[in-house]
């Protein structure tokens, strides 16, 4: 055997690309075909649109009159058509010609397409009868519509009949309706004049609109919105050309086993394939953008009149820094589904959901009022999309840009790790990777499933907050989230995995020394948590409106104090503890050592508080409470600690002892830190006195103490 050699990653990458370039059919279909087809499609679409517009513009519309007030309709329509024929507005578009068609049954002719619009003139009583009959046929619209009808003045009514499924009929209707409205306004003005109320709008004051945005900002706003979704679309479709072949293709051909028996490391194989996906994704993106540029030059695609792009070198670097993690995320995601899929066909099944998961968040940039300085920065892809728009507008908010890049980078790193693990899984070779726990289910499987369950709870929490949110009111929201979702979800987990409730919820007696430790620790942890949150806000300032809305939310309207204490202190103290320091910690304990376990439980608890500015203090509280359960082995001290924490945070404000914007004195922080240290010394002492780790089931090794 000969040792040494190097550049395995480079070799894998080069050969990956070489093999792709030799796949002429794929290249032809994925790259060349769009280059040739797009211009043809665009030309055809433009020609079709041009013809459609020409037909509509030049059309001679046919109309008919009907109804009990046909004469009324006739005169109104004549006036409208006179305006159409002589109005100076028609300089920009040719006036339409309307031909009167006399027919005994005009509606059937509209349906047949022989005429475009029917004007039905009805006397007031006749109109009421017709409408009442129509409403009776559609029971959903009854009472309110009938009430409106009763209030109508007794004047004739014109009803225009047309077809929305016919461009020509719709155009005729729109033109005629516009002119009839003008006729109505003219008549109103003449009535005013008759009563000596003639007045021109300009006499009431001037009104002028002035756009103060520079052409660069306008362009930035336009491109900033389009850029990320467009690039993602191109990267996903382009990268997919390689990704589908990279693992699932190799599996299908039988070359994957050959590759996996070589000395190449899994990480090298994944990295090389990832580079290949990124390379091809970028090439396809560049080719398509160049293609787009050619269409613009050839006037196949029209751009806004004043398009001015101004991106400085710094902004360009920031854009690259934002797109780098996005590119890695796309390639990792594509490779991941390629790893999961057993064949090309299965890959195609997974592609659409992946496309939705990666592409849809980028559309967050289209939401009105969406700003980067919000929790959106923490959402992978969406944060980058919003950040890119702000960079294109010349607004650089470093802390949030970093958060956006980090959140997407974190997701990319996670996806890359998952891909590497996918290549190490035996499912690739043996077709199955179940183990004893998968078959047995129950408690053995729960540690592997607990994060999925809490992920699901988090999604339900987000969706329900977005849907119902504050409209539920404080009481219902807390009851739904804390009791229904967290505790209900926990009970479901206990039942589904046949967990022993006392162990899962840590319902064990606490050592006596834990109680004084809680009484000292709870206020101390609250104060240190406030200090931590204030330190965090120096980097990420809380917007005024967030503070105001949170204050209003906590203000809880006119609830009596006992209800506020029950809803905001007692219920969270009991049920959040059962869910997070109970079931969640029980599930994670076999896989994590005590310190990572407390940090993980705290972080997940923080994430469940959704708002970016609440994550830090709540995650801190979560870590502290997890440590309390770990050291005492019991959920009860953590329940009391949690309830006291919330109580002290709310009651002094509710009773008016301190104001909402009260600042703690500086001396309180070292005092609180000392109190917290004392509290944990007591807890540590209880642990030492017991002579072992109190919390059963901690640490990798399958639930052993």
């Amino acid at each position: 055997m000969v040792d040494g050699g190097g550049g395995v990653l480079g070799t894998l990458y080069r050969y990956e690309l070489r093999m792709l370039l030799r796949d002429t059919r794929t290249i032809a279909i994925a790259v060349v075909a769009p280059l040739l087809l797009f211009p043809v499609l665009i030309l055809l679409a433009r020609e079709a649109e041009r013809r459609r517009e020409a037909v509509i513009e030049r059309a001679t519309y046919r109309y008919a009159l009907t109804g009990t007030e046909e004469d009324f309709a006739y005169y109104r329509v004549q006036e409208a058509l006179a305006i159409e024929a002589f109005d100076p507005d028609t300089a920009a578009r040719p006036p339409a010609t309307f031909l009167h068609d006399r027919s005994p049954n005009p509606d059937s002719l509209v349906r047949a397409g022989a005429i475009q619009v029917v004007v039905e003139g009805l006397a007031a009583d006749e109109y009421l009868r017709v409408r009442a009959r129509e409403l009776a046929e559609r029971p959903g619209e009854d009472s309110a519509a009938l009430a409106e009808l009763a209030e109508l003045p007794e004047v004739p009514v014109l009803r225009l009949h047309y077809r929305t499924d016919s461009d020509v009929s719709r155009a005729a209707f729109e033109r005629l309706q516009e002119r009839l409205e003008q006729v109505r306004r003219q008549q109103r003005d003449s009535v005013y004049r008759a009563y000596g109320l003639a007045i021109d709008l300009s006499e009431l004051g001037g009104l002028e609109a002035r756009n103060v945005a520079t052409a660069e900002r306008e362009t930035g706003a336009l491109l900033g919105v389009l850029l990320t979704p467009l690039l993602l679309f191109l990267m996903l479709s382009g990268g997919s050309i390689v990704a589908v072949d990279a693992i699932s293709g190799e599996k299908e051909r039988g070359t994957l086993e050959t590759l996996l028996t070589t000395a190449a490391r899994r990480s090298e194989i994944v990295a090389a394939k990832q580079l290949a996906v990124v390379t091809v994704g970028i090439v396809v993106t560049v080719v398509n953008l160049a293609n787009l540029f050619v269409y613009i030059v050839l006037d196949l695609i029209e751009l806004p009149q004043e398009l001015a792009v101004s991106i400085g070198p710094l902004s360009l670097l920031v854009l690259l820094a934002l797109y780098l993690p996005l590119t890695v995320l796309v390639s990792s995601g594509l490779l991941l589904i390629s790893g999961w899929a057993k064949s090309y066909k299965e890959y195609q099944l997974y592609f659409l959901p992946l496309f939705a998961v990666v592409f849809l968040p980028s559309l967050a940039v289209l939401l009105p009022g969406m700003e980067l300085s919000s929790a959106i920065a923490l959402v992978p892809v969406a944060g980058v999309a919003v950040a890119v728009r702000e960079v294109m507008l010349g607004e650089i908010d470093w802390p949030f840009l970093a958060l956006a890049a980090l959140s997407t980078g974190g997701a990319a790193w996670g996806a890359a790790r998952l891909t590497e693990r996918a290549l190490s899984t035996e499912r690739l070779i043996s077709g199955t990777e179940l183990d004893q726990a998968d078959l047995a289910g129950g408690p053995a499987l729960f540690p592997r499933r607990v994060l999925r369950w809490f992920g699901l709870l988090w999604v339900v929490l987000l969706v329900s907050s977005a849907w119902a949110g504050e409209s539920l009111g404080l009481v219902h929201q807390v009851l739904f989230n804390v009791v229904g979702l967290f505790f209900g979800g926990s009970l479901l987990m206990v039942r589904a995995y046949r967990l022993e409730p006392r162990a899962a919820f840590a319902l064990r007696p606490a050592p006596a020394a834990a109680w004084p430790a809680v009484l000292i620790g709870a206020p101390a942890a609250l104060v240190t948590g406030v200090g931590l949150a204030e330190a965090f806000q120096r980097f990420v300032p809380v917007p005024e409106e967030v503070l105001r809305s949170f204050g209003q939310f906590l203000g809880a309207g006119e609830l009596p104090l006992w209800q506020i204490v029950l809803i905001l202190a007692v219920i969270p103290g009991i049920f959040e503890e059962l869910a997070f320091r109970g079931v969640l910690m029980h599930g994670l304990a076999p896989r994590l050592r005590p310190v990572p376990l407390a940090l993980a439980v705290g972080a997940i608890f923080g994430i469940f508080h959704v708002s970016l500015w609440r994550i830090v203090p709540t995650a801190y509280l979560g870590v502290v409470l997890a440590a309390v359960v770990l050291l005492t082995g019991s959920i009860y001290p953590a329940m009391l600690w949690h309830a006291l924490n919330n109580l002290i945070a709310i009651v002094p404000v509710e009773l008016g002892w301190v104001s909402e914007d009260y600042d703690l004195p500086m001396w309180s922080y070292p005092v609180a830190s000392a109190g917290l240290a004392l509290s944990f010394t007591l807890l540590w002492w209880t642990r030492r006195a017991a002579g072992k780790m109190q919390y059963v089931g901690t640490g990798p090794g399958g639930g052993r103490p």
């Binding site: 055997m1 000969v2 040792d3 040494g4 050699g5 190097g6 550049g7 395995v8 070799t11 894998l12 050969y15 070489r18 093999m19 030799r22 796949d23 051909r253 039988g254 070359t255 086993e257 050959t258 590759l259 996996l260 028996t261 070589t262 000395a263 190449a264 490391r265 035996e426 070779i429 043996s430 199955t432 179940l434 183990d435 004893q436 998968d438 078959l439």
Partner: protein, 247 residues
Amino acid sequence: MITVQVEGLAKTFFDEARGAIHAVDGVSFECRAGAIFGLLGANGAGKTTTLRMLATILRPTAGRARVMGHDVVAEPEVVRRSLGFYSASTALYPRLTARETLEFFARVNRYPRERVGARVDELVERFGIDRFESVRVEKLSSGMKQKVSIARTVVHDPPVLVFDEPTVGLDVINALEMQEVIRALRAEGKTIIFSTHVMSEAEKLCDTIVIIHGGRLLASGSLEEHRRATGKHYLEDIFVQYVREGG
């Protein structure tokens, strides 16, 4: 010199329909340099699973295995560098030429870069690949592909070679050619681990024959030792006797 050590190796698969399947159940053996070690067993006996654990693409449920002194679980990359793995399911990249295939596998197996060219030339000549070295694999006949596959397996000059049912699907001429190659590699001092369910192949090639059935090792020894132990002459009869006794 002992090059491969396997102690109590086991692999259990869990299938939703069939429950726990003990594909390999506590197998132990040793292989020496310059010898052909044959794993003889019916389909589903656990031969491929054992060899895949040696090649580090499956993780043992229990037991341990060492290749050239390296543990298959703790040092998988080093193990794979010491190993060439050939089986009917290890295919070649269709869009690479025969020469590119050898160069690619030499490089990814960390063969010294400056010696890759000479090594590939040597193998191209040795296996008669020179006639089609610039032809893409997808255009080669099955006999030609077999030659490229063998050359790919040995291109990084590993001391241990695993041949998992290498003659499956080959015609008589190609099967005999494969046997010749395996003998030649033994003569070079390689450790050959060879799995088959064809008795005549095992009789002709193997220095040590291990009989494996239902994931368990039933007997191990040379053909003569097996004859003495069972009183049977033909390997087929020997195999059946072990299986009956073992079952």
